[in-house]
Point group: none
Chain length 386, copies 2
């Protein structure tokens, strides 16, 4: 495969428990991110139940259309683990019991009593398949490379899958293919809607430049604008600067920067070393967000109070952030009143957020943090349009 | 469609952010569970990026093979929201601007300034499509029913999608198709592992009866044992009684009963009318859980305090639940110390929970609630085995 384009990939997530909605398929999201960084272009993800014909059909279609097909799940010892059979069927090969794999399996069960006979299914292989060792589980993976296409079978248990991916599959793909990793930059803004941001950034989004993709996404912590390219020399930094200039005060950071970083950073620059929160109507979303994302830095989050009588109690800190959210569930919105007491204090500021369920509370929390960074950030002169 | 079999369905999750691994596709898991309960057989789930031809091909293939195709995502106002175009292409129809949808959209933007012109994309429709109103977002959905196959377009924002599904799509599917919904009963237990519960319930799980499926699942709020059947007359109640008897004190409820219900119910029976929480090491998981699940009933949750200095402050309530969690992230476990002050007080009780990240905090909160219901619940005489 001497490719001038990025190699294409498909993911198959196999298992009836996925199709019944009993588990969320986090494997696909993990592998999607990995493939993106590695420089493979993921074209489709399919989830298929424990049905050998359906799995075989998915392998056949995807191997015909894409360079690499990676399947997770269906490598267990039971009768409904059919991924091996299905790939054998798709490639027109016979399964046989691999004596070496039997030895490996038996040694794994040593000291745990007799190996159940069902586990011998996991020692089955086809001629084209190299076994991938599973250091923390019984199911070996497969790597097949035939007729210019690669198929990989990995276990569905996330920990086993991730380890085999990182230690064995990714290095093999990097050796086997010519990969150009995707470089990406993100600009984040709060207090502006997706449509309004898209209108503001229209030219940048529509014509970001040759070989550059631009996208805009609504998240709980605001709007994310992403520029990405497989060309190492693409002027992503320039696009980021232009997006920041166009979004003005609504922009709060780039890449890994969170709203918590932006708000705590603004407080730190005012000399605040400890912060507490008092909130109502939010199910504790503000203290939860600060607990989760505000670890380790300055100012230190010392704790929060949540409840209807929350004003009565306050934790001892340099600054206390007050958030009262009046939630209208039917209309999917919350009116937020935000105030900062103590050092760097500011008076009451109001905002409105939209969302559903827990999302509404998280957005109220992010809105409070947004008010902090807006109130306390000294902006440089606005750059003129370039 | 006068079907003697269950109608088949496919899900399409659309969006480059899914293909890039930036978000986990929770919509597919939610809809998979809903389809199962409604009585549709989900045959495949596909994730596709923002590429009109690829989306159109997925629609064509799935409409040819399955009775119902439900797509989420790609209904936003921007140039990379291409689901409408793709379904139009797959069905060979032309898009036109629907004057009524334009009016609805404009009224949504009233009071928020001029509607961005990009949003007019969301008023596009094909002749076969009925618009599905979106009461909490700008993207209307589509319902098409042509040549015996149904296609549904829903927004990718989970809250909007779930509401439109429940209020508009599910009722339409129930009217349009002959469905045999799944009847399910659940027994819940805390403080027992999945393997131990499976061993205790071995006979019930292996031979629940004709046409009945039995399953056991580990969840943050404990073990869920589920019995399900499409046969309305299946003796699920008897299975529930037998599972409750076998699990003894570890069982805390059935079906919709939560650990919050069990704990608050035990407090209410002791005359407690208000409760507050004081916690540390948990990111506010206990107050968040009580805020979310403890609404409206007695005792009333008046609020909580979270933080390293949390003991210093307490909210005024009949009873105060104290939880201190010592979290060991590396080992994925937390040692919980639980105490109840005020009416119905009990002394210090300890427990250990296992998990990863936010799950560990939620489990610590559930463990505190489990201690409350265990300490305060007066058990009837244990029924003998039947």
């Amino acid at each position: 495969m001497a490719l001038h384009r990025a190699p294409t990939a498909a993911l198959l997530s196999i298992g009836t428990e996925i199709m019944l909605g009993e588990i969320v398929d986090t494997n696909a999201a993990f592998l999607a991110g990995e493939l993106r960084h590695a420089g493979l272009e993921l074209r489709t993800v399919r989830q298929v139940g424990d049905d050998a014909d359906a799995i075989a059909a998915a392998f056949s279609e995807c191997l015909a259309a894409f360079d690499v097909v990676i399947a997770t799940g269906g490598l267990g010892p039971t009768h409904d683990d059919l991924t091996r059979e299905a790939l054998a069927q798709a490639l027109g090969e016979e399964l046989f019991e691999d004596a070496e794999l039997v030895v490996t399996l038996r040694s794994r069960f040593r000291g745990m009593g007799e190996m159940p006979v069902a586990n011998l299914r996991q020692a089955m292989r086809i001629r084209s398949a190299h076994a991938l060792a599973n250091p923390i589980g019984s199911a070996p993976g497969w790597w097949t490379d035939r007729d210019g296409n690669i198929a990989v079978l990995l276990p569905g248990v996330p920990g086993e899958m991730r380890r085999m991916w990182g230690e064995q599959v990714l290095p093999r793909l990097e050796r086997r293919l010519t990969l150009r990793p995707l470089h990406a930059r993100v600009v984040k803004a709060f207090g502006i809607g997706e449509s309004a941001a898209a209108a503001t950034l229209d030219a940048l989004l529509r014509a970001p430049g040759t070989g550059i993709e631009a996208g805009i996404y609504a998240r709980d912590d605001g709007i994310h604008v992403r520029f990405a390219s497989r060309d190492r020399g693409a002027p992503l930094g320039d696009l980021v600067e232009r997006a920041l200039a166009a979004l003005g005060e609504d922009a709060y950071g780039t890449d890994q920067t969170t709203l918590v970083d932006a708000a705590l950073g603004a407080l730190a620059r005012r000399g605040v070393t400890t912060i507490a929160t008092v909130e109502s109507g939010t199910h504790g979303a503000l203290l939860s967000t600060l607990s989760e994302l505000g670890q380790g830095g300055e100012p230190r989050f010392v704790g929060g109070v949540c409840g209807e009588r929350a004003d009565a109690a306050a934790l001892d800190a340099d600054a206390t952030l007050f958030l009262a959210a009046a939630v209208n569930d039917d209309r999917g919105r919350a009116r937020c009143t935000v105030r900062l007491g103590g050092m760097a204090a500011f008076g009451e500021r109001r905002s409105m957020v939209h969302g559903v369920g827990a999302q509404l509370y998280r957005r109220a929390a992010f809105s409070a943090l947004d008010q902090v960074r807006r109130a306390l950030t000294v902006r440089p002169e606005q750059p003129s349009d370039r």
